[in-house]
Symmetry: C2
């Protein structure tokens, strides 16, 4: 079922500071502008790599789902991995049938790439928060 590793989600208290680190220390050359995803409670920017992306996410608003993570990890850290799937509804139903726990109400939401996504609880995924994203029409 899973296809490409679309991105690794990295939580940060400051996208600006993280973008500077990726650019100046690690020499990343393409980093997107920061933008708001209010319905997900995050700011987001992408570090483009030749084959994948790092998704930098920063809390947006008081109810951001990242708040707890950053309280435990004040410097930030690896938050989730995102795999592409051909059909998000088929993937959701298959994951549920196999005993995975789909977060939220189970309805896919539109993610940062403009395609529907779901998240799977880490407890069934080897401790890893897994995002499944319907394969975008264009890479990334």
């Amino acid at each position: 079922m899973i296809g490409r590793l679309n991105h690794v989600g990295v939580a940060t208290p400051s996208i600006e500071a993280s973008a500077r680190m990726y650019r100046e220390m690690l020499g990343a050359t393409s980093i997107t502008e920061k933008r708001a995803l209010p319905e997900q409670g995050v700011w987001v920017a992408f570090v483009d790599l030749p084959n994948s992306q790092i998704e930098l996410i920063e809390p947006l608003g008081e109810d951001s789902p990242l708040k707890g993570f950053l309280e435990k990890n004040p410097k930030g850290g690896q938050h989730h991995v995102c795999f592409e799937v051909p059909d998000i509804i088929a993937a959701r139903d298959e994951m549920r049938a196999k005993g995975a726990t789909v977060l939220g109400n189970g309805e896919p939401r539109i993610g940062a790439h403009g395609v529907p996504v779901i998240f799977l609880h880490p407890k069934d995924m080897g401790g890893v928060l897994v995002e499944l994203m319907q394969t975008p029409a264009e890479p990334h």
Copy 2:
């Protein structure tokens, strides 16, 4: 400097159990055999994705560097990200000059892909343990 996202390192108490989860729940179709890397204190296996890999790592021996991680995260979890660089010595020297902390004695070690690698302390990397790997001659 950084090129491809070579892999995401995922620590697990059992590579067999994790491989089963990736195969049976997430539908991964290509997972390498588990093998020992005694000098790094880990067992390793790779989940092949079309553009990258998940590196499953399990403690090997009493002094495994994964023991502390798994005590804090008994189910496992995301452990590191690995970026390819063209020249590991040049990358190490550049990272040091920019204030990053190279783990161990700073001498690159041969990693699971047969090429030299170094690790950078998370405190300078936005809370993420970063592995740099000299680009393998063949993909993966």
